[in-house]
Symmetry: D3
Subunit: 219 residues, 6 copies
């Protein structure tokens, strides 16, 4: 039995980053943790159409793995297919956005979200509303960096520090969530810089999945 | 230019019912109102997987109609693809659940929803939460009738009266929404029976679409 | 039968502006649209006492028009008498603030309101709270311009751009509502400048009224 | 200087009941407490039109008393003119519904409201929403008794016990508010019967006004 | 019978300030107002451990005073032991944070809180959430001044003006609460400077307690 | 390093039950799981005074274990000392109420809580409010069973079935939380009976703690 962390975009590069993110947890997991790339997905999930469009292939992908799976983690911050996979599967199902938010709710009273682009913010707001936790949201602010700019790590980290500080000082966030599956390398440094907990969502969700595997032993 | 009311399931029978629902409004619309069946859809939209699964074909269907369209109405109470179609299209886009709820908010202070099955209620709750109007919801109660039972109109109307009265008297709803695209024939009688406004969502959304076509003249 | 758009202040100048605002929609309406001035109203509605004080004359005014009316639109952003007129009249009743907010909820996830003066903001907050949509509000910011300053269109538009940008960039609004019945001439330019939908409330409410007239055909 | 408790309906009988309600507090008040009847008001405030319609005369009535007043209490559970009087007057202004709700928030975690008629419930819901305290509301249930039935004290008390128990046991209210200015005589017995605090709103508001008179000494 | 205002920290200096804060109200109170120092408390209540830790001694302190008490006011802005004392005592129990917030809700539509330190903000947020009034909160901003800096009155007042203005102009607060028991001397000047009501919580709670003593006469 | 599950009451019998609850998870945990009894606690935590009163000894108890601890779980459904322990300790800190609620939020859209006694419900409501998740609460209903009645397992299970069904069918809960640390033996049977997930809070929190231990490897 395995925890499958499924990247619903087709970028192996992103999956590799997720794998590195969860690598340190493997020794503490009672079951293997495997990362997967949804080859049918788009190179990146940037629009609501991408979010909705990957659900079908994601469900099919997970259906094939059902018998081998202890849990599934959907590794995209829009949590595509989360409700649908919960209806389909008998396993523990976690989405990285939901898990990051629930984790943040134990580490601070008001969470801030760092988004890549402002056009994602309305999608996040719908989701925070659907989760019923709008009163815990301090703010959601974008880096507003394009793909090429994100490739420049120095620049990205500078923006992370500026946006994180705005969330902490203006929006009064006392915990910050990285609103994207690909910012793991910055987490520790950003947390040290800001002085408040910074949550990497793939790690938060996989950690929660490990707990669920343990919880399954009580059934 | 046309208002397209798209039934995202493949049942022509359902589309015919929607067509009858909007028929009386055609004389008051500045543009034609056309109903469409999404042949790629499932026979009925019953699960979250169905909801997410029709988005791709629905977007493609609407993309082809874009140049002829004044507005699109998505005629399924789960509003599949609403956010995605808004990102894709330059037309006015309405979903029947959203439009029914917004209409209800002008006809009463707390709306009740009549669902077909209890398993739809959590999906509705996520949606009411995403809309940020949970404080206006009185309750969401299911008929709990299967497809065959729904075919019995007498029985269906009896359940509608019981559930509607529970929403009005116990949940204190002062306006009731039919939470499904196929209950038009019962609307007038149920409203007369309950003594509070009863909203048929396809009609509410198409009415709103007619308004939007007028509003487009101001641009 | 007619849609009556009633300006509850006594300024014919304001009514003329409202008439120009709805003029482009007349061709798309199944019934005539008539604007009315409430001669018993104050020259402008600036205080809560004004809001409450016009309700009596407004109800009387509309009672006389009841038999000729398809719908009434109350054309003041405080929606004076909205609930009372709904109790009194059998027609469709819309208020421009409520209709603008409901329309905004279909065009973006978080709406910002541009108020004329900061002293109106608490009144708006009570209203947004009564509507139960506080989680959809991004912010409400004042132009803080007096009557004479508002007469200077260049200056007014400058302030609109500044306040609109603050709502969009700081409060993260993705749709902006003009919180006053008299800013129609700026709508298109402000929308072009901001790059997010800008809603003129008289137009939004009248559009919704047109839809309601169509909806009445289904009864 | 005097605390004026103004009954905005024209019924001297109701004012007399309010006077008896506040009579026991006179000895504990630093200033006289005077009750007033708004002769321009309707015999009873039953509709939103009544609520809005009394604001003008109420403001005039209070303006004349301004110089003699320490505080005004508006003694109708719809709090007519509360916001307007706060804008007009320099005195402490309290409404009996608002004061009863704020008092309830210190005596229990979820308050129930006993209304006379179900048609008042939507008006109350708008108000609880405008106050931003919907999460503290357990429920609002009507006695559904007409004027003549209310004259029968035995019957009224029976209904109060039934509705109060429903609020306590089904809606899980741990404090109950009498949602009307005229139920003082039942308060003590109902509280004894239900075993949870029961709030009479005229008393709650006048008590708060006494506190405000004391608070004014710090300015 | 006496209103006891209990300072749950052991600083007599703080108690003396509270005594001066309530001194002007003594003449308007039907019973004596006595201030008390909880000698078992810490010198200042700065952490959640302090808040929880004083509850036991506070309950014991108040139990001894029960027979002499009309009401108790807990004079620390974290309202330590409020719910517990309400369970233990038959008297009216008020906390200065709760009372200040409820008072603010009658003086403005959105309240701002001035905290001493940012580390108190999450504690306040939990409390505002538990009160169910998050929609009425404009913001909570810290002075971020240490004990020594607070001793410099000029500097403290400068910060109060800056933070108060930020709450008023950026967060759109129309009433400001001093989120600490020791800022009484600044209240009047800050209110004059800001032009919106400023609430000193010990005074607000004691005023409310005076009202409750009057209300007890109706039982 | 160890996960310490601390029962803050002094009943070894309760601790033994908790130990049996978490026993099946030990094989899946990367570190030992030890249960502890707070000997300074009361025999049962039934009042707010008990909740507040155990915080001091609990903090001291945990401070001694800090160096050996990976995580602490506070095993009482009132989560006494949760915020204080988070301020004091550098370890992962979980409370069983918070963890049960967060877990429920991934297994259903609206959670119901089964309380032992109705007098706990207001305390739970304050907590659900402080967590900001009131919109996800379906209801909180009491078994209303005393200690002796609880000793009768047949009777207790009968009440659990009745109350659970009321939460599911009337309050429309789609996940149920056992609102007490001592109902583990009923969980599986109740879940089978109700057909919706039933959460035992000690297990939920310990599972989450196991995840956090894994997450700590990424730091």
């Amino acid at each position: 039995m395995t925890i499958f962390v499924v990247n619903p975009n087709s970028s192996q590069h992103v999956t590799d980053g997720i794998d590195r993110a969860v690598e340190p947890m493997r020794g503490a997991s009672p079951v293997p943790i495997a990362t997967r790339t949804l080859v049918e997905g788009p190179p990146g999930i940037e629009t609501q159409a991408h979010v909705d469009g990957v659900v079908g292939p994601l469900l099919a992908h997970c259906a094939e793995l059902e018998e081998q799976a202890s849990a599934f983690v959907i590794a995209c911050f829009s949590d595509p297919g989360l409700a649908a996979l919960r209806e389909q599967s008998a396993r523990s199902i976690l989405g990285i956005a939901e898990a990051a938010i629930l984790t943040a709710m134990t580490l601070g009273q008001r969470f801030g979200i760092v988004s890549i682009l402002s056009k994602s913010v309305p999608r996040h707001m719908r989701y925070v509303g659907a989760m019923g936790v709008m009163d815990r949201l301090a703010g959601d602010l974008p880096l507003e960096l394009g793909v090429q700019e994100l490739a420049d790590e120095t620049r990205t980290f500078e923006r992370l520090k500026v946006v994180g500080a705005a969330l902490r000082d203006t929006a009064m966030a006392d915990v910050v969530i990285l609103g994207c599956a690909g910012m793991t390398p910055f987490r520790n440094d950003l947390e040290a810089h800001l002085g408040v907990p910074v949550i990497e969502p793939c790690q938060a969700a996989t950690a929660m999945a490990i707990g669920r595997v343990a919880l399954q032993q009580t059934r």
